[in-house]
């Protein structure tokens, strides 16, 4: 049974030469590691190409991938390139058996979630429609279609990533297509605006993760780029000027001019793009709900809610029932009630 632990996968990523069979020369991007319901994933570079690799952490994960690959083979679909490397991660203490790893080619380009803000509505809707046609002609469904999982290549072709949920039969992505359409209408530039602002494709550079000698800079979101140094996390503007020094232990990307930060003392608060605290960093936990604009904070079992401007809207109360609010999640982040 192909199954591993996050601990084993992380150990492998730290020392690929020891624990990976064929991916031993990979250069991993540690900060890109994250966990979803089925996989722990990491972006890697190998022989000049970019890939996403996935370690199965759920015993249903690999059968899902097998089904996806079979669907792609049957339909001769080339919208993605996903493969299984059998017994790739060598067994060790954290998980005694060799585990297969899933690898997916990451096309050069920018995720739709970021291109939404730089390309025109017309262009994006055309691309989305083309993708829909492709899925229809191949008679497949992606089942995991989010703006984060669509890459617009520099050749303007649209590719799909995290394609491990593909199944045969078209039609199960309708709701996702509608959601993305609405997002495009809401976020994208109108044609005149596009020419006025002289947005060129080179701006897409801002939407890639850049690793420099002493810092890693993350893609532009909400007008800011998060960067991580040894000292902490800070923010840059779109010309890569420091606007908030790297003084935080953790910080989420800005959404609607709000970022949830954790200070070096471990307390959480919320800042705006000038670095001013909207909610002071004195709480054990803070969550920003981008829909309502409210910020829930907690100390122990006691909860309170601030509004978007930092005024108390609900005073301290004991938690009766945990009501999850949408936090600073990215589009890849599934619903708040998503399984672990």
């Amino acid at each position: 049974m192909d199954l591993t632990t996050i601990c084993q996968f992380k150990s492998g990523i730290r020392q690929p030469k020891l624990l990976f069979k064929t991916l031993c020369d990979m250069v991993p991007e540690f900060d890109s590691m994250h966990t979803t319901k089925h996989f722990c994933e990491c972006r890697i570079t190998l022989n000049g190409g970019d890939y996403l690799i996935y370690a199965p952490i759920n015993y249903e994960s690999m059968s899902m991938v097998h089904r996806a690959i079979e669907s792609l083979n049957v339909t001769n679909c080339d919208i993605t390139d996903i493969r299984i490397l059998e017994a790739e991660l060598l067994g060790c203490i954290a998980s005694p058996y060799d585990t297969s790893i899933v690898i997916e080619t990451l096309p050069e380009g920018t995720p739709l979630s970021e291109a939404l803000y730089t390309l025109t509505e017309e262009h994006l809707l055309k691309g989305l429609n083309r993708l829909r046609q492709q899925l229809m002609s191949f008679d497949i469904s992606i089942n995991n279609l989010t703006p984060e999982n669509i890459i617009i290549g520099y050749d303007f072709e649209w590719y799909v990533t995290r394609s491990y949920m593909i199944t045969q039969g078209y039609g199960r992505d309708d709701a996702s297509f509608s959601r993305i359409e609405r997002l495009i209408e809401k976020c994208s530039l109108q044609s005149d605006e596009f020419s006025q602002r002289r947005v060129h494709m080179d701006r897409l550079e801002l939407h890639r993760t850049t690793v420099e000698k002493d810092r890693t800079i993350y893609p532009l979101q909400d007008g800011c780029r998060r960067f991580v140094t040894r000292n902490g996390v800070g923010f840059l503007d779109d010309n890569n000027n420091v606007i908030i020094e790297p003084v935080f232990k953790r910080a989420s990307n800005f959404r609607e001019d709000r970022s949830v930060v954790t200070t070096n003392t471990g307390h959480m608060g919320v800042i705006d793009r000038r670095g001013h605290f909207i909610v002071p960093p004195i709480y054990e936990h803070a969550e920003f709900n981008v829909d309502s604009g409210n910020i829930a904070v907690s100390n122990g079992n006691m909860w309170a809610v601030y509004d978007y401007l930092g005024e108390f809207v609900k005073d301290w109360h004991e938690r009766k029932q945990y009501i999850p609010i949408r936090s600073h999640a990215t589009p890849l982040d599934y619903s708040a009630d998503d399984d672990v």
Binding site: Q15, T35, K37, N58, S95, A251, S252, D339, V340
Partner: protein, 283 residues
């Protein structure tokens, strides 16, 4: 052990009972290495918590999927091995006392025959301890009270039932065996609307005292030991459902058929974590 996965509205509780008595100073074979049992227990516990912690993180936010308690027992009585005033600590609060990662080096013989030293970087949430006697009964009573309160809490009534791991060397049965079995039964019958709690015993055996006849995940029919402590532990372990027994058979490549008891010797508890389906939704 669940057919559904852990979610924010369907959390679960994990209790890890760690034997911290003097007998844990004895040596055991752990992953082919001779180490003190207390260190093996420390490593296993830290690995479980680390795995749960990692699984709860989504894009820098730690989601409230688990309440975790770690109960140590030794001559000084029973105590929480986590900081704080309450036994159960929500997983998101672990961020507050996140320790600096520690590197554990293990010799590892790979399947291709190479022997390498593999460093594992894990946060040392708890430290190894070994002193005093073994008040297991008190630890079980504390656990029973704890999970009864947790299950009785209205906000947990739709949560998945607690899972209890008892990590011990088995040298702790000075008490009346029936009292221990009774309290273990109380734990195993404590339930939420979604099912009964699961009690899984992990036994770290002393070098030189291994009994080769002890099967991994025994069934009542095929288990027999002359050691009283093993027989007691068998009766203190939950009987695993047919679905889970099937998974165990596959993962551990067992030859005998279930239903198995939640009792394992010197095994990687991480495998158990997979089996209890924490964070999965097979449906």
């Amino acid at each position: 052990m669940y057919k559904t996965g852990v979610t924010l509205s369907r959390r679960t509780a994990i209790v890890i009972i760690v034997d911290c008595s003097t007998s844990m100073k004895k040596y055991t074979m752990f992953n082919g290495m001779r180490i003190v049992k207390a260190e093996a227990a420390e490593f296993i516990t830290n690995m479980i918590i680390d795995e749960l912690y990692e699984r709860a993180i989504r894009f820098d936010v730690t989601r409230y999927y688990y309440d975790i308690a770690i109960i140590g027992f030794s001559g000084d009585g029973t105590y929480s091995k986590l900081p704080g005033i309450h036994d159960f600590v929500p997983i998101y609060n672990f961020t507050d006392f996140e320790p600096q990662p520690k590197t554990y080096n293990f010799d590892q013989t790979l399947n291709d025959g190479r022997c390498i030293k593999v460093p594992f970087v894990i946060r040392p949430w708890i430290k190894a301890e070994a002193h005093g006697t073994s008040p297991l009964f008190e630890a079980m009573v504390r656990t029973k009270d704890l999970i009864e309160r947790w299950c009785a809490d209205k906000q947990n009534s739709y949560s998945l039932p607690p899972i209890i791991f008892n990590i011990t060397d088995g040298d702790c049965f000075d008490d009346d065996a029936w009292s221990l079995i009774d309290v273990a039964n109380d734990i195993m019958t404590t339930s939420t609307t979604r099912g009964k709690s699961l009690l899984i015993n992990i036994v770290l055996r002393t070098i030189g005292e291994e009994d080769d006849n002890l099967p991994l995940f025994p069934t009542d029919a095929d288990f027999y030991s002359t050691k009283r402590s093993h027989m007691i532990l068998l009766r203190m372990s939950s009987i695993l459902s047919p679905d889970v027994s099937e998974q165990i058979k596959k993962v551990f490549r067992l030859n005998h058929d279930g239903p198995y008891r939640g009792l394992a010797y010197d095994t990687s508890i991480i495998r158990l974590l997979h089996l209890v389906s924490i964070g999965t939704d097979p449906s």
